[in-house]
Amino acid sequence: MSDKQLSQPKAMRDSLLESIYKAMLQDSDIFFVTADFGSPVLDKIRRDAGERFINVGIAEQNLINVSAGLALEGFKVFAYAIAPFITMRCFEQIRVNLALLSEVRPMNVNLIGVGAGYSYVVSGPTHQCYEDLTLMRALPNMKIYSPSDQVIAAALPKQCLSNRGIKYLRLDAQVLPIIYQEKTLSFGDGFYEHCHGEDICLIATGYTLHTALKVKEELAALGILIGVIDLFDITGFNLNRLGQILASYKGVVTIEEGFSGKGVWMQWCLIL
């Protein structure tokens, strides 16, 4: 993607799909499966990916099972639906045919859930999603990416295609400000330290990074300097490196969309 394209704010979903679209034109081993959920960019995939685009209909259990079958035969699969439906409607299919089966049989399946947290603001609780991090973290073998802007989202397909396994990509549905630049983005540590503070560090993920950066600005105006870290690789971040950074702080605050006591917060309780 050119810098000019990246400079146009768009939903993470669309920048991610744009990358998948380009990859599918180059790599005939990629399959895209949707549960009747679309986007303007997806129309290009439907048009040009030919028989490697499949709409299973409003049938998330079958979305997962068909994706597993395709992946067992060596296809690299992206499965796409609204976040609560692709995680909760078919949780047992994910558990059995992805999380457990991938322990024995190699596969590359990438679940794309759109509408993390509160981001489907007007749609109400069926379409909002507060449980996905907790549930996906509970599964063996599941890697979780939680990007905070369209630049990370656009880089995720390359990361997913070059690393086998099962993954969950949770995307906020809204158009959010651009945070990163493609040239400086690195997946190496699985997190990015935006600024180093004095006593307190905020660890955010996805949409909440934008909140954390606002908090930082407001506190800076009061003369309080806090650190802000964006955790976008929820399961694969460099713990030692992050531990070194956090060692200089008196306190760490995690900020995420979810229910109290679960999700990333719980992960930190275990680590700290």
Binding site: F31, Q61, N65, G69, L70, L72, E73, E92, L101, V104
Partner: protein, 277 residues
Amino acid sequence: MDKKPDFSLKYLEKKAEWVWKETLKIHQRSPETRVASSLSPIEIFVNLYYGGFLDQDPTNPRWEGRDRCVISKGHGSLCMYPILADLGYFSMEELNNVCKEGGVLGGIPDPVIPGYETINGSLGHGVGVGSGIALAMKRRNMKQQVYVVTGDGELHEGSNWEAFMFAAQHKLDNLTVIVDNNQISMLGPTDEIVSHRNLVEKFEAFGWSTMEVKAGHSVSAVYGALEVSRNNCIEKPKALIINTRKGNRVPGLEGADLSHVTAIDNSLIDQLLETKL
């Protein structure tokens, strides 16, 4: 692999008898196994594995050119253990260690066992995963076949019906679903729990080419249906409804409402093992 079948009807019948006895022996050694639902699909598996329908290589179970067999009714497929051992997927000695510490063969099979493709303990998964496999093979222009063996009880799971619609939509004529229609699930006859009514009509209505075998324990009847189905290429997925008896030929077990969880006495198994075909 050489696809030329080396068998006769008599040969298949002898194999079916041997598998029936070996399955009882497994249950004798490991009473915690589900024996009744493992006795109903014997003629189905014997035909698939010895009748020339599955081209596989036991020395290389993940050989790319193999026909795929997805066994959805996992715990009701322990009769597969003697078949797989006999064909050389693992040693016959393993049959002594079913459900034993250190053994690879459990009460519910999983793909750690050579010859098993998927995880099968949870029901209603096989048709969907098999559909994905069949679609992948179509896209790769592979000519191999995909067989999925399910029970009729597990057809209560809605996920199957999502997959039935999907397979018909994509004209997966390389996919054959075989229903071991023993008509009893865990707590009694499926007809009295939630009736499937007419499975043949249901499959036909979902766009499948469907055949029913009323004599599901007749090796030749099952063979004939598989043969017709294999040669049937009309751009539809295929379903074979094989009417069987849960606990087949075991007095007190055959057709009993609670046969799913019933264990058989050692002495009865000793008597049955003396039975001549």
